[in-house]
């Protein structure tokens, strides 16, 4: 499989009255066609901004400071809004966290999907558009699609709305779908349904998915590869197996330890102490150092580079340097997530 998306050293800054803040800092990763990459991190770690910067859906005050976005080996970093409009929907697509607000409340579901269908094939006949919409609605698991064509978002439950948003996003068979916490605002059972649906559709359409979440449980269910983000940087990236069974970064350890399934009965759930630093005021060295129980002196001085663990597994921690003391990871290898 070849890389359809390659991100090289991407940095995104936000301008504000107090100055600049670095929200995404030198992120590099690649995506193969058909695979699922999960980007995991706390709120404010820049994972959502990373996806939006690739889609060029950043707010006014944000801009790509440096780096390259290569889509099928074509550099789209400097693409204009007009160029991006041709890519969005047809090559790159996205669904969002809150299905309550991501659909227009005054237009019927059917019409909103039809709009996406017609966009890149404007000569399609009306009846064909409608049958395609109904096909899409059935594909995302909306039953009685024909009857529900004319219903409005407020007639739908949260799960049904997310299904509708998904139908809009996949209307033109995109190569890559960015899913920005699509299950966070749903209840647990609906969450699982949507995740399974997403996997199912991904297989049928053969699209790559970049799945953004803060929930490691969700990651285990869906991801082929995992990237862990902290303060705008990818601190560890590898296959799902490598990340879950052989994590190398103390932050990943912390995330694992705070999972309920890892907690021992009768004991309090583990939490990583402290708060992530503000992106406008990053400390010198490793941004995670102040919260890191395994921090070395060098962590406060110099940012750790990406150390190679295997061909697919990299982590940015000085613990992997040959001169560092050997630390036994606090996470069991046979852990069952």
């Amino acid at each position: 499989m070849s890389d359809i998306l390659k991100i090289e050293n991407l940095s995104v800054n936000f301008r504000s009255e107090d100055g600049e803040s670095e929200v995404v800092r030198g992120v590099s990763f690649s995506l193969k066609s058909g695979e699922t990459l999960a980007i995991v991190g706390e709120s404010g770690s820049g994972k959502s901004v990373l996806a939006k910067s690739i889609m060029k859906l950043l707010p006014h005050n944000a801009y790509i400071k440096e780096g390259e976005i290569l889509l099928n080996d074509i550099d789209i970093t400097s693409y204009t809004e007009r160029d991006m409009q041709k890519l969005r929907g047809s090559v790159l697509s996205m669904i969002f966290q809150d299905p309550m607000t991501s659909l227009n409340p005054t237009i019927s579901i059917g019409k909103q999907i039809a709009e996406a269908v017609r966009l890149h094939s404007p000569k399609m006949k009306r009846a064909d558009v409608k049958s395609r919409v109904i096909e899409l609605m059935e594909l995302v698991g909306i039953e009685n699609a024909e009857e529900r064509y004319n219903l409005y978002p407020h007639n739908f439950s949260g799960g049904m709305r997310q299904r509708s948003a998904l139908a809009i996003a996949i209307a033109q068979n995109p190569a890559i779908l960015f899913a920005d916490e699509p299950t966070t605002s749903l209840d647990v059972t609906t969450q699982l349904q949507i995740l399974d649906l997403l996997r199912d559709i991904q297989k049928k359409l053969g699209m790559a998915v970049v799945f953004i979440t803060h929930d490691l449980g969700v990651v285990a269910r869906i991801a082929d590869r995992v990237a862990v983000m902290y303060s705008g940087k990818i601190v560890e990236i590898g296959t799902a197996e490598e990340i879950f069974y052989d994590p190398k970064h103390p932050y990943t350890w912390g995330l694992m330890k705070s999972l309920p399934s890892f907690a021992e009965k009768g004991k309090e759930l583990y939490t990583i102490s402290g708060f992530p630093p503000s992106p406008g005021d990053l400390p010198k060295g490793d941004a995670f150092a102040p919260r890191n129980e395994y921090a070395l002196r060098i962590d406060y001085e110099e940012m750790p580079p990406m150390f190679k663990v295997s061909d697919t597994h990299y982590a940015a921690t000085w613990l992997l340097d040959s001169r560092a003391p050997k630390v036994l990871p606090p996470v069991r290898r046979d852990m069952n997530v």
Binding site: M55, L57, H60, E81, R82, Q85, K86, L87, R88, G89, S90, L92, S93, M94, I95, F96, D98, T101, S102, L103, N104, P105, T106, I107, E115, A116, L119, H120, E143, N144, R148, L151, Y152, H154, N155, F156, S157, G159, M160, A165, I168, A169, A171, Q172
Partner: protein
Amino acid sequence: MIRENPFVYYGKKLFVFLLSLFILSLAVFFISRLAPGDPLVSYYGDRVEKMSVEEREWAENKLGLNESLPVQYGRWAKNALCGDFGISYKYKMEASEVIGERIGNTLVLGGIGFLLTFVLALGLGILCAYYEDKWLDKLLCRVGTITSCIPEFWLSLVLILIFSVNLNLLPGSGAYSIGNKDDFGDRMLHLVLPLAVVVINHLWYYAYMVRNKLLEEVRAEYVLLGKAKGLSKRKIIFRHCLRNIMPSYLSLMAISVPHIMGGTYIIETVFSYPGIGKLATESARYKDYNLLMLICLISGAVVILCNIIAQIINERIDPRMRESRHIEEGEVAENGK
């Protein structure tokens, strides 16, 4: 929520309407009569100064002005309920006839002014929202703020000075040239300056409202999904955002009818435009009681009616009310999942 019986609903509104008119008539009646001034001047002109005491008494008796105020009001109200609003002292004919002759002129000026303001404000608002924070938006915002602060009487005088006195391009007073009563083109020429003042004065207030409502809408999450599926900014604004602000814009415009109408009254006076606005100022000045009462009641009726219409539109578009109507369908959607 149980929806009210429409007869009860509109009955309540009608009651409020009539009650407000009654209170208005009381207020205007007593205030106008307690204000200083001699109504006989309006009937007899300068001759009043030469009248003897007996002659004055006879005249007051004839016009029914010598009784106590409550008795006078009672008589006026009784006649008014039968459709007789008394005679105009100045014009010596039925007050309703005097108004009937002029109300057409006011409707033309106010109506065209209102429509122009309505359409131009929408266009200008969209333009500003589309080019948010670009130089065009900034320029329009600044110019708009200044023009909307210019008092209309002053603006009228300046425009008359420039376009009719100095340049001699446009007529500066009246509704038509003498002898040209039925000449459409001539009437239009006379409308240009008053209309310009009406529009310039109100335009920005509404355009700014449209701009801000649109900008609020553009930041909604469904816009992001629209962009993600490949819609252009123009399509999003016209197909999605505009549609969502229209109901509130319509109700705003319903409230604005009296606002714009009040403006035309002043403009009519400055341009000596024979409408009911000019009549209103005249009748208040010369204590032409019956005429003043009728004009106030008509204006008041328009104001109250427009507010009621705005209220109805607002209640109709309240999404929570829509939600309650569809609650059963919504439950079906939930269960069918």
